[in-house]
Subunit: 341 residues, 2 copies
């Protein structure tokens, strides 16, 4: 099922903040509505943010009153700024926005034709993500054995992508091949994407899933209750994987216990011109940590840290699974050079 | 301030499930009420559970209608069973219950005198815990330097003890010595003792505290935002520290980053006749993980793990601080043999 769709000038998606208790459809009609949805995590997940940014530009194009090409490009440039100001870490958003804008700039056609080109390119980005996930699933499933118990963190599933998922795409592909696997999902504080989204997706698909708190990752590894870890990524730079806060903690524990640690992410997540030190880690508002469901939990007046992501150096990563194949540790020099494994 | 007190045949304490938003005094009048308070974590923290069990027996003694010594002992034995059936992991509860019962058995006096002896022994256990924490604080403060930023997990503070705290007792002692330290407190899912209790205690005492989710422990260590870890313990066996779920995760991360990892706990927590494999880890109900404040968070019908504790092998522990001094790694053979460091 597609998580995001273009329908007669409107973007149709699900409000992910309401899952799993309610399935609320969002009909997004403007780039500002799209930016709001991204900022507030109604739409989230690095690959999905790529498609969302692309569709955001499609909305800006369709809503533009431009009478000439340069006015339309100016409107699109404004929309790119609006979208890029939402969340700084997932690279797919920047990549997709730049790709659609570049297409419009290169086209140099009339206004209505350019609008059509923008919509077409957004559709193409969404379609490519769905295809990449299917290919990634096949590539990754080869690493999964019958009987594996796989730990995953946050949600790198259908809901984080246009379709199928990255880390959960690999799990789905292995399951479809008849491998009897089980999943342990971390709840992923503060916003509980694991409890709310990953557990929901897997349960719906009939794949056995057990929920733990983030603090139990060490426990399940020490007790040998998991034998593989697969996570997604918000950005993969030359020397590290940037992903949901808690990923690094899981990677160190996997390393300590000799548990393979896999990252599944499409090429649109690769940012090979940068290193970890250049990545901006989004710091979100303290209330996400001190409150729950509008209800205060923690004492008043204390300090709070709330980085949304952390950085896992590649030395902790066993392999990177993408639509083109699998980079193992021995292939990481090729990965950095942008060469196929 | 005493967390637990004996007042005219009633035990006065605080309902810790209501903090920090409400300060509700509990007046516990029977051993069954005490058992309920322990089971539901209204009264929690290993050293406090020792005093609570002892006072529970004092309540059983005072409420007993026994007309002879053997009837009173039978009532006390029933009360010991009730108290021991509440929570299986913290050893102080077992130790204190057995100590008070032993005292009554050895006394062999008349009913009213034995009742008085039971109350007196319970008071003594409470007083000893308060004294042990003060001594532990002094011993541990010597390990803390001006400018340290200390990570702590769960609540090993005044609220977990009769007075002053174990891990937070060390922090309080260092602070009183004028060392300008800061604390990073993990929220400690699922029951948020860090967010609710540790942050509250430290804020009240004016000690700077910053709250993080459990998933951020790797992040703060990688960024060198902490340079020491101090936690309490529910039980220390020959080869490991048993403490709140998440402690092992923090210990592995500290080890990986070269951050000293200290455990502060009174002798009443030591259980040197056992090894880690013999410790029963309490598994609590799934709703603590799937719900929050009565509100469902996770998808229906999924599996859940909810161990309340985990096991940290001594190889990850830099030193054990107790009322008698400090055992460093080099002293662990003495520790196991029950010899002073």
């Amino acid at each position: 099922m597609r998580t995001i769709k273009w329908q007669d000038g409107t973007v149709i998606t699900i409000d992910q903040t309401r899952l799993p208790l309610e399935t609320v459809t969002l009909k997004i009609k403007t780039v500002d509505e799209m930016a709001e949805a991204i900022k507030n995590l109604r739409v989230r997940g690095a690959p999905l943010l790529g498609a969302a940014a692309a569709y955001g530009l499609a909305l800006a194009a369709c809503n533009s009153n431009a009478t000439c090409e340069s006015e339309l490009l100016a409107d699109l440039e404004d929309a790119v700024q609006t979208l890029k100001s939402t969340r700084p870490t997932a690279v797919n958003l920047f990549w997709a926005a730049d790709r659609v804008l570049g297409k419009a700039r290169d086209f140099r056609g009339r206004v209505e034709e350019t609008k059509a080109i923008v919509v077409q390119e957004a559709q193409r980005i969404a379609d490519e993500d769905a295809e990449a996930n299917l290919a990634m699933g096949e590539n990754g499933a080869a690493l999964i054995n019958d009987g594996d118990v796989i730990l995953t963190h946050c949600n790198a599933g259908e809901l984080a992508t246009v379709e199928y998922g990255t880390a959960l795409g690999v799990i789905r592909a292995a399951w479809k091949q008849g491998k009897k696997i089980k999943v342990i999902a971390t709840e992923t504080r503060p916003l509980l994407q694991g409890a709310r989204l990953t557990a929901y997706e897997l349960k719906r698909d009939g794949i056995p899933v057990t929920l733990i708190t983030d603090s139990m990752v060490g426990y399940v590894m020490q007790k040998r209750l998991v034998n593989k870890v697969i996570v997604g990524a918000d950005r993969i730079v030359q020397d590290a994987v940037v992903n949901k806060i808690g990923t690094f903690t899981a990677a160190v524990l996997a390393h300590e216990h000799g548990v393979p640690f896999y990252v599944a992410a499409p090429k649109s997540t690769f940012d090979l011109t940068r290193t970890a030190s250049e990545v901006i880690i989004e710091e979100r508002k303290p209330a996400e940590v001190t409150h729950y469901g509008g209800q205060q939990v923690a004492a008043e007046g204390i300090g709070v840290l709330n980085p949304a992501f952390d950085i896992t150096p590649l030395k902790y990563v066993t392999a990177i699974i993408y639509e083109g194949g699998v980079y193992y540790q021995k292939d990481f020099a090729k990965f950095k050079a942008g060469i196929s494994p």
